[in-house]
Symmetry: C2
Subunit: 397 residues, 2 copies
C-alpha cells in the first residue's frame, strides 16, 4: 500500500494571551539535554565511542508531538517509529537521517518508496521476510531481525531465528539489503536479575551471527550503561522525554530534564461552608470553611480520573491538594493555603521537579508513559516560551 505523504504539522508557540484551558508546554532544550545525557552515559563522558542512538518517537513522541521534539533530536542518529505513516511524517518534517520502522506490516511496494531512505525495518515474522525477498529495488532497507525473547509479542523464536537470518543474509550478500542487524526487546529490563537472564538468552541465540546489534532500551542502558555502551545501536524512548524508566528514581535523579509541563488555569473559585459537599457523588465534604478552585482540566484532557493516592497540583509554586472527584472537564483543589489564587491563576498538573510526572503516575496507579500518551487532542502542545524567539531556523534536525 502506498501511503500518501502527510502534511507536516507546524509547531505552535505559546502565546502571551491569557491561558483558557489545559496546555502542555514542551521543551526542545530538555529533549536535547536528555540526548546528551544518554550519550554521555554510553560513551563514559567521551572516553569511548558509544553506540548509535535511535530516538523512539512512536505515539507522536510519547504524546509530546513530533513537531516539538524533532528540534531537540538533532544529535540522535535515527528516529524509531511504529508505523509507515509515522516514517512519512518524519520525512515530511525534514528528518534526513535513518528511520527505523518497528511494528508495521509493510509490503515490498511500501519499502520501495525512495522518499523513505535511509530506511531501517524490523523483521518480525515470515510475511515481512517474504516482502523483503520480493523487493526489486537495490539496495533495499537495512533489516533488523527481531528475536522473540521472553516478551513473546512478536519476532522469531530461537530455532526459527537462525533460519530467518540465513534468508536475510542471502539478500544482504546479493546486495539487496543495505544492512542486517540483530534486535530484541526486553520483557523485564527494570529488574537486574531478569535483565541478565534475558541477555544470556539472546546472546546464545545471536552467537556467531555477524551484524550490528540493537538490544538495549532506556531502562537497560540507564541501569547498566557499561553493557549498553559496547553495543552498536541502542533505542531510547521514555528517557528522551526526561522520564525515568526505573522504579524508585525519577528523571531528575538520572540527570534527565522533564520535557513536558502540563498546566491549566483556575476557572472559578467557590467558598464552601462547613459541611458543603463538592463534586459528583459528593465524595468530599468541607470540614470547615474552604476556598475551592475549579481547574480547567479533567479526564477529557487526559488527567487520570482514578487517583489511588492523594493528588496534588502546584499553584504559585506550592502544593495544593486535589479534593472531590476528577470530572470530565475539571478538577477541584483546596485553595486554603493560597489566598492570592484567583480565576486565571495557573495550576501546574505535572512537570516541575517537585511534581514530576513519575509522582503523578504513582498517585494514579499507572506509569508516566500512560499519562503522557493519554493527553488528548484538545490539549494544545506549545513550545516553551523561552525557546520561542530562537526557534526559527535553529531547530532543524
Amino acid at each position: 500500500m502506498k501511503t500518501l505523504q502527510p502534511a507536516a504539522p507546524q509547531p505552535q508557540v505559546r502565546s502571551q494571551a491569557a491561558q483558557h484551558g489545559c496546555v502542555a508546554i514542551i521543551s526542545r532544550q530538555a529533549i536535547a539535554h536528555n540526548v546528551d545525557t544518554i550519550r554521555h552515559r554510553l560513551d563514559q563522558d567521551g572516553q569511548r565511542d558509544g553506540p548509535r542512538l535511535w530516538a523512539v518517537v512512536k505515539a507522536d513522541a510519547y504524546g509530546h508531538t513530533l513537531a516539538h521534539v524533532l528540534g531537540g533530536l538533532g544529535k540522535a542518529d535515527g528516529l524509531a517509529v511504529l508505523e509507515l505513516e509515522e516514517a512519512h511524517l518524519c520525512r515530511a518534517m525534514g528528518w534526513r537521517k535513518p528511520i527505523l520502522i518497528m511494528h508495521a506490516r509493510y509490503t515490498a511496494a511500501d519499502l520501495s518508496d525512495p522518499g523513505l531512505a535511509p530506511l531501517h525495518v524490523v523483521v518480525d515474522n515470515d510475511e515481512q521476510l517474504r516482502h523483503l525477498e520480493a523487493l526489486a529495488q537495490r539496495p533495499g532497507p537495512h533489516a533488523w531481525l527481531r528475536y522473540r525473547g521472553s516478551l513473546n509479542h512478536s519476532g522469531f523464536a530461537a530455532a526459527a531465528y537462525r533460519r530467518a537470518y540465513d534468508r536475510l543474509h542471502k539478500l544482504l550478500q546479493a546486495g539487496r539489503l543495505s544492512g542486517l542487524g540483530l534486535l530484541q526487546h526486553y520483557a523485564r529490563a527494570e529488574e537486574a536479575e531478569h535483565l541478565r537472564e534475558e541477555r544470556r538468552d539472546f546472546e546464545a541465540v545471536f552467537a556467531g551471527l555477524p551484524g550490528p546489534r540493537c538490544t538495549e532500551n532506556s531502562a537497560a542502558l540507564l541501569s547498566d550503561p557499561g553493557y549498553a555502551g559496547s553495543g552498536d545501536w541502542v533505542r531510547s524512548g521514555i528517557a528522551l522525554y526526561g522520564i525515568s524508566p526505573l522504579a524508585g528514581v525519577d528523571g531528575r535523579g538520572l540527570g534527565l530534564l522533564p520535557a513536558m509541563t502540563l498546566s491549566a488555569p483556575i476557572h472559578d473559585v467557590q467558598l464552601l461552608a462547613a459541611g458543603d459537599p463538592l463534586g459528583y457523588g459528593a465524595t468530599f465534604r468541607a470540614a470547615h470553611q474552604l476556598r475551592v478552585g475549579l481547574v480547567h482540566c479533567g479526564y477529557a484532557d487526559g488527567y487520570p480520573r482514578n487517583l489511588v493516592a492523594a493528588g496534588t497540583v502546584l499553584v504559585q509554586g506550592r502544593p495544593c491538594r486535589i479534593i472531590g472527584r476528577i470530572s470530565m472537564d475539571s478538577i477541584t483543589i483546596d485553595l486554603s493555603g493560597h489566598p492570592q489564587a484567583s480565576p486565571g491563576t495557573p495550576a501546574v498538573l505535572w512537570g516541575p521537579p517537585d511534581l514530576s510526572v513519575e509522582a503523578v503516575a504513582l498517585s494514579a496507579g499507572t506509569i508516566p508513559a500512560q499519562l503522557c500518551v493519554g493527553i488528548t487532542g484538545r490539549v494544545p502542545r506549545l513550545a516553551e516560551a523561552a525557546e520561542a524567539s530562537g526557534a526559527a531556523g535553529s531547530g532543524s534536525p
Copy 2:
C-alpha cells in the same frame, strides 16, 4: 478575544483496505436513533410536547468527533459545547440552530460575533455578568443563569443567584438579551434520593423567577422522564452516544444503540509452550501450549492499561480473554478457542451488545465516558460502512 474560525474537519469513511491499526467506527444512525429514543421518553411517545433538547458535544462529541455525529443530530434543538472555539467549529461545520456555551470565559467582544448566532451562554460568575452588561450589540445572546447547587463547581449560590437574576432581567427588559433562563447541574443524578433532594433545593431557589428552565441531564431524564418531560430544555450528553448514565443497566437496556465500535487487527500470532512467560513483567505464564494473538491496540490508543477485572475482546464474534500486561501499542489475547484467527483478523475492543463500553469500563475500574474521550489522536474515527454510500448530502444538520 476574537477567535479565528477553524476549518471544518471532513469526516472520513471506512475504507475497504485492510485494517492496519486501531480504529473507532462511529454510527450516525445510532446517534439519530438515540435522539429519537430520548425524545420519545420525554414526550411520552408523542402524547405531550416534550422539552427542547441540547445535544452535548463537548470533548469532540465525547470522543466520537463532531464530524461524525453532527449528521445524526438533525432532530436535536441545539448543541451544547464547553468552549467558544467549539461553537465556532460547529458553525463552520454547518450547524445553524442554537449553540449553548457552557463553560467559557467569554468577553463582550466574543459574544458580538454575528457568526455565532443564535447563541446561548451559561452565566456562572460575576465576570460573565459584567461582560454581558458591557455588550453593545442588541439583542445579545440568550443567557442561562447557573445555580451552583450541591455540585459547587461554578455558578451562583442561593442568595447571590437572585441578585444576579435581577441584573440579567434588567438587560432582558432593555432588549439586550434574547432570553433569560434558569440552569443547574446535578451532583448525584444517578441516585434517586439525592436527585429529589437536589430538585427541592433548586426549585426553592428558582421559585417565582420567570424564564425557561434547563435542569435535567441524561441520568435525570432517563431515570425520571416524567419530571424532565415537563421542563423547557434538557441537556443530554452520554446517552446520545448510546451509553447508560445509570448503574446496573447498559445503553441497550435503556433502548439506546452504541455509537462507537473500537476494533484493531491481530498483528501477529505466537505459539507459547507450557511455562513460557508473556509480556512486560512476565505477569502471565502459559499453563499449557497456547496460541497468543498480539492485537494492534494499546494504552497509547486509549485502551485502559489497568484492568481491575478480567479483560475480554471479541474475535469472530466470540469472547477472547486478554492475557499479559496491556502495553503501549498492543494487548495480547488467548486464541485457544479461535483456531481460525490469524494476522489481520479484527479484534473488537468494545461496542457490540455482548461487549459494551459500559462492561469494559467496569473491568477497567472507570466509567464509559472516560474510555470514549480517552481514545487518542492516532486512532482514526471512521463512519460505519453501511452508512457510507448514503452519507453524501443526507447528513447535513
